[in-house]
C-alpha cells in the first residue's frame, strides 16, 4: 500500500519598501504595497487560479479519491484578502469538497520557534483562529516555517495538542531509514512525524524543467513507476512542496500543469495506491521508529539546516535585534506597532540577507527583491530603527495617533 500525501505551502511575505535612513521617524510605512499587490496578482494569475482550478477538477473527477493538503501562511491569506480575494474563494471551493485539509503554522511564517517560544505559541493560535474562521477546520497537524524541526519543537507541539507534524526527510536525520514511514521524535512519543520524500518532491519542484537532468523530460508514466516502486517498502509517500511550483517556479510552458492533471489518475490505476491527507496518515499508520534530532533541520538548500536564515552575522544580528524588543513592543499596547513588528518576523526578510552562494547566482537570487543581501540588511535595520523610535513612549503619544 502506498498512500500519497500531498502538502503544498502557500506563502507570500509582506515585502519591505526601499526604506532609507531619511525615512526613519517620518511615518512613511514599511511595506511596499504596490510591489506586494503586483506580485500577488501575478502569482495568482500564473499559479493560484489555474492550479486551484485543476485541483478542483481532479477532486471532482476522482470522486473523492484525490486528496490534498495546504498550509496557507497568515500573511499570504491577508494578501489574498487585500489583493486577490477571488483566490481565497477558490480555496473555499476546494475546502467544500471535503478532500482538502488545511494545516497550522505560525501566522507570520516566522522563525519565532528558534527565538521566542511565547511569540511562537501566540502566532500558532492566531493562525488556528484564522483557519477556523475561513475554512471551519481545526487542524491536528502542524508544520513549522520551512519545515524547521527538532526534538524541542516536537515536544512543544505535542503539548499543544497536535497529533502530527511535518518535517524534512533529510539524510542526516534518517541515515539508512526510509522517509516513507511515520516516525516519532524522542521527546514526543505521541506526535507522529511525516517526513518529506525529498527526492520525489524535488523531482517535481526543482528538476521538472531542468534539461540538464538525466531524467528530463519527466513524464507521468515515469513518475508513477517511481511511486509504484515504493509499494512493499513504505506506507506514505510525502510529497511536500511550495504551491508556487505550479506555474510560477515551473512555468506553464514546461508542461507542469499537464503533468499535474494526469498524475493522480495514473497513480490511482494501481489498486494498492491511494491519496491521503496528513491527519488521515496520522490516524492510519503507526510510527516505525524514534528519531533523535537536536540541531534544527529544515527543507532549505543542500545543508537542510537554518543557515539560509541565520548563517551570517547580518542575519544573526537582525534576528536577535527584532526579538530583543519583543517585551517592549507587546507592553506598548499599540496594536499597529505589534502587527508591524510581527510582519518583520517573516522568515523571507532574513532569507534575503543570505550570502551563501551569492556569487553563484542561485535560487536565493531568483526570489530576492533586493539587488544584494547587504541592501536587504540595510533596509531591514532602518525599519527596525524606526520601530525602536516608535517604542520611545513620548514619540508614541505624539505620532501613533496619526498612523
Amino acid at each position: 500500500m502506498v498512500s500519497v500525501c500531498f502538502y503544498f505551502q502557500v506563502h507570500q511575505p509582506f515585502r519591505l519598501k526601499n526604506y532609507s535612513i531619511f525615512d526613519i521617524g517620518n511615518n512613511t510605512g514599511y511595506f511596499d504595497e504596490k510591489k506586494n499587490k503586483e506580485i500577488m496578482q501575478k502569482v495568482a494569475k500564473k499559479c493560484y487560479f489555474p492550479t486551484n482550478k485543476i485541483m478542483l477538477d481532479l477532486i471532482n473527477k476522482h470522486d473523492g479519491k484525490f486528496k490534498i493538503s495546504y498550509s496557507l501562511s497568515g500573511v499570504a491569506i491577508e494578501q489574498f484578502e487585500r489583493y486577490a480575494p477571488e483566490v481565497l474563494d477558490s480555496f473555499m471551493d476546494l475546502n467544500d469538497t471535503g478532500c482538502v485539509e488545511f494545516l497550522n503554522e505560525t501566522y507570520y511564517h516566522s522563525l519565532s520557534f528558534l527565538h521566542s517560544k511565547e511569540e511562537f505559541k501566540e502566532q500558532i493560535i492566531m493562525h488556528k483562529k484564522k483557519i477556523r474562521s475561513l475554512f471551519n477546520q481545526r487542524p491536528t497537524v502542524f508544520r513549522n516555517t520551512e519545515l524547521i524541526f527538532n526534538n524541542e519543537l516536537a515536544n512543544l507541539i505535542q503539548r499543544m495538542g497536535y497529533k502530527g507534524i511535518l518535517a524534512e526527510g533529510a539524510d542526516h536525520i534518517l541515515g539508512w531509514r526510509s522517509p516513507n514511514f511515520l516516525y516519532t521524535a524522542k521527546t514526543a512519543p505521541k506526535l507522529k512525524m511525516l517526513l518529506k520524500n525529498y527526492k520525489l518532491s524535488d523531482d517535481v519542484a526543482f528538476r521538472f524543467s531542468n534539461r540538464g537532468w538525466k531524467e528530463w523530460p519527466l513524464t507521468v508514466d515515469k513518475y508513477t513507476r517511481w511511486v509504484n516502486s515504493i509499494n512493499g517498502n513504505g506506507n506514505v509517500l510525502n510529497l511536500f512542496m511550495d504551491y508556487e511550483t505550479f506555474g510560477e517556479h515551473q512555468w506553464e510552458d514546461t508542461g507542469i500543469f499537464d503533468f499535474l492533471r494526469h498524475l493522480p489518475g495514473e497513480i490511482l490505476k494501481h489498486p494498492d495506491n491511494n491519496f491521503i491527507t496528513p491527519s488521515e496518515a496520522v490516524k492510519t499508520y503507526n510510527p516505525v521508529a524514534e528519531l533523535d534530532i537536536h540541531c534544527p533541520v529544515s527543507w532549505a538548500d543542500i545543508e537542510r539546516d537554518t543557515s539560509a536564515w541565520d548563517g551570517n552575522k547580518m542575519q544573526q544580528s537582525a534576528i536577535q535585534k527584532i526579538y530583543l524588543i519583543e517585551g517592549m513592543v507587546k507592553r506598548s499596547g499599540n496594536n499597529k506597532l505589534i502587527e508591524n513588528w510581527r510582519k518583520l518576523q517573516t522568515s523571507d526578510h532574513f532569507y534575503y540577507m543570505c550570502t551563501k552562494r551569492f556569487n553563484d547566482g542561485d535560487v536565493h537570487k531568483y526570489f530576492n527583491p533586493y539587488e544584494n543581501p547587504y541592501d536587504a540588511f540595510i533596509t531591514f535595520m532602518n525599519i527596525l530603527n524606526d520601530v525602536n523610535l516608535r517604542l520611545d513612549s513620548k514619540h508614541i503619544i505624539k505620532k501613533e495617533v496619526e498612523l
Binding site: 532609507s20 531619511f22 547580518m314 544580528s317 551569492f358 556569487n359 544584494n372 547587504y374 540588511f377 540595510i378
Partner: protein, 411 residues
C-alpha cells in the same frame, strides 16, 4: 603571435588606471607566450628611468620589448594641460620644446608620424592601440604593414568630460573606432557608450573585463590609521575630475555627518576640480572632517585603502573602475556607482546611482553603523576578488586577436 602595441606609461609613472591596465595586459600576454613590442611615450619625466630593465627584471615579461617615442603626451590630457606642459618646457629647457607639436592635436599627429618609423622597423602580426591618443599611430602602422588593427577603448571622451566632449578628441576617437578591425571595450557599459555615441556595429566590439594582479606585497601591509582611532574613515580615491564624481562624494559627506559625527572623509587624488571641492567642503562647514592627501602612488595607495573603513567610487561614468578591485584586494568594503563597468562583474559591493546622494548617505551610514554589515562585505568581497587575475583578460584579448587575424571584417 607578435603584437605591436601602442600603450601608455607603466607604473610607477602613471596618472591613472590606464598605465596599470597596459602593464597588466602586457604581463598577462607575455605569460601566455605572446611577443609584445610596446611603444610608449618618452616624457621628460620618465626619460631617465630604465623601463626595459624594470620589465626585464620580472620573469613574467621575457617576451616584452619596449620602444619609446619622445612626446609630452599623457593619458587624460586636455588641450589646456598640453599647452601648460609645453609652456613649462619652454621655460625650463628653452630649445628642446621645439620638437613637440604646437598643440595637443599636433602632438598626437606628430606621435602618429613617428609611429610609422617603428611600424617599419618592427616585425609583428597585429597592432593593438590603447585609447584615442594612439589611434592615429595605430592607423598609420596598419597603412604601412597591412596588419589588422585592434583598438582598445578604456574610456570614451563622453565619460571623461561628463558628456561635453572636445570635438577634436571625439573625432579622433571616432576615426580610430571606425578604422579598427575589431574593438576591445573594457565593459558592457563602455560598449554601450561606444554604440550610442559613435554608431558602431555592436558585433565589432568585444568586451574584455579587467583583472587584477593576484599577488602584490602591498596588499598585506596591515596598515592602520595614524588618524584619530575613534573616527571611521570613508575614502574617495581617483582623479578629482568631473568623471569621478568628487562633488557627489562631498555632498554625501555633509549628509553623513548629520547622522554620525565621528567620521573622516579622505579625498586622495589630484585633478582640475580639487579647488572646487576644497571650497565646497568649507561652504558646507565640514572642512575639519575632510582630509585631502594629494596624488598618491605605490604603497601609499594601499596604505590609504587599508586605513579606510569604506571606499566610495561615485563616478558619473566609469568605463571599468579597476580601483574598485584594488579596494577589494586591500580588504576595504566598497560602494560603487551603478554607472560603472566594474558593477557588472562584482556582486559583493553596495551599488548606487552616482546622483543619488541620499542613497549614498544611507549606505555609508549603515556600513559605518553596523559592524556585522561591514564584516560581511569585507569578507565576501575579499573572497570574490580572488576570481580576478591577469591571465583571463589576456586570454580574451588573444581570442580577439585571433578573430582579427582570421578574417576580413566588413563593418
Amino acid at each position: 603571435m607578435r603584437i605591436l602595441m601602442f600603450g601608455w606609461e607603466f607604473p610607477p609613472f602613471k596618472t591613472g588606471g590606464l598605465g596599470t591596465a597596459c602593464y597588466d595586459l602586457t604581463r598577462g600576454l607575455s605569460y601566455k607566450g605572446v611577443d609584445v613590442t610596446f611603444v610608449m611615450p618618452k616624457t621628460p619625466e620618465n626619460a631617465k628611468s630604465d623601463f626595459v630593465k624594470l620589465i626585464g627584471a620580472n620573469n613574467l615579461c621575457k617576451s616584452i620589448k619596449v620602444r619609446k617615442v619622445s612626446t609630452i603626451l599623457t593619458p587624460y590630457m586636455s588641450s589646456e594641460a598640453y599647452s601648460n606642459e609645453l609652456k613649462k618646457l619652454k621655460i625650463n629647457h628653452n630649445s628642446s620644446s621645439d620638437v613637440y607639436g604646437r598643440n595637443l592635436y599636433q602632438e598626437v599627429l606628430r606621435y602618429a608620424e613617428m609611429a610609422k618609423i617603428i611600424a617599419e622597423e618592427e616585425e609583428y602580426d597585429l597592432i593593438h592601440a590603447h585609447d584615442w591618443m594612439t589611434y592615429m599611430a595605430g592607423i598609420n602602422a596598419r597603412k604601412i604593414s597591412g596588419k589588422p588593427l585592434v583598438v582598445h577603448i578604456h574610456a570614451t571622451e563622453f565619460d571623461r568630460t561628463g558628456g561635453n566632449p572636445n570635438p577634436m578628441i571625439s573625432h579622433l576617437e571616432y576615426t580610430g573606432l571606425h578604422e579598427a578591425d575589431l574593438i576591445i571595450a573594457n565593459s558592457n557599459f563602455t560598449k554601450n557608450n561606444v554604440i550610442r555615441h559613435y554608431n558602431i556595429n555592436p558585433d565589432k566590439i568585444k568586451v574584455v573585463h579587467w583583472g587584477i594582479d593576484p599577488e602584490n606585497p602591498y596588499y598585506n601591509l596591515n596598515y592602520s590609521s595614524p588618524l584619530n582611532k575613534n573616527e571611521k574613515i570613508v575614502l574617495f580615491l581617483g582623479r578629482i575630475t568631473i568623471q569621478k564624481g568628487p562633488d557627489y562624494f562631498i555632498e554625501a559627506a555633509k549628509k553623513v555627518l548629520d547622522f554620525k559625527k565621528n567620521v573622516r572623509f579622505v579625498i586622495a587624488g589630484d585633478g582640475d576640480m580639487l579647488p572646487r571641492i576644497v571650497e565646497r567642503a568649507a561652504e558646507l562647514g565640514i572642512s575639519d572632517k575632510v582630509t585631502f592627501t594629494g596624488f598618491l602612488r605605490g604603497a601609499d595607495v594601499h596604505r590609504v585603502f587599508q586605513m579606510a573603513d569604506l571606499y566610495v567610487m561615485p563616478s558619473t561614468s566609469e568605463p571599468f573602475g579597476l580601483v574598485a578591485l584594488e579596494s577589494m584586494k586591500n580588504n576595504t568594503p566598497l560602494i560603487i556607482s551603478k554607472q560603472s563597468g566594474v558593477s557588472e562583474v562584482v556582486n559583493n559591493a553596495l551599488k548606487v546611482d552616482f546622483w543619488d546622494i541620499n542613497e549614498m548617505t544611507n549606505k555609508i551610514v549603515n556600513v559605518l553603523s553596523y559592524e556585522e554589515l561591514h564584516q560581511e562585505l569585507k569578507k565576501n568581497s575579499f573572497e570574490e576578488v580572488k576570481k580576478f587575475d591577469l591571465v583571463k583578460p589576456a586570454e580574451k584579448c588573444i581570442e580577439v586577436y585571433n578573430e582579427a587575424l582570421r578574417g576580413v571584417h566588413k563593418w
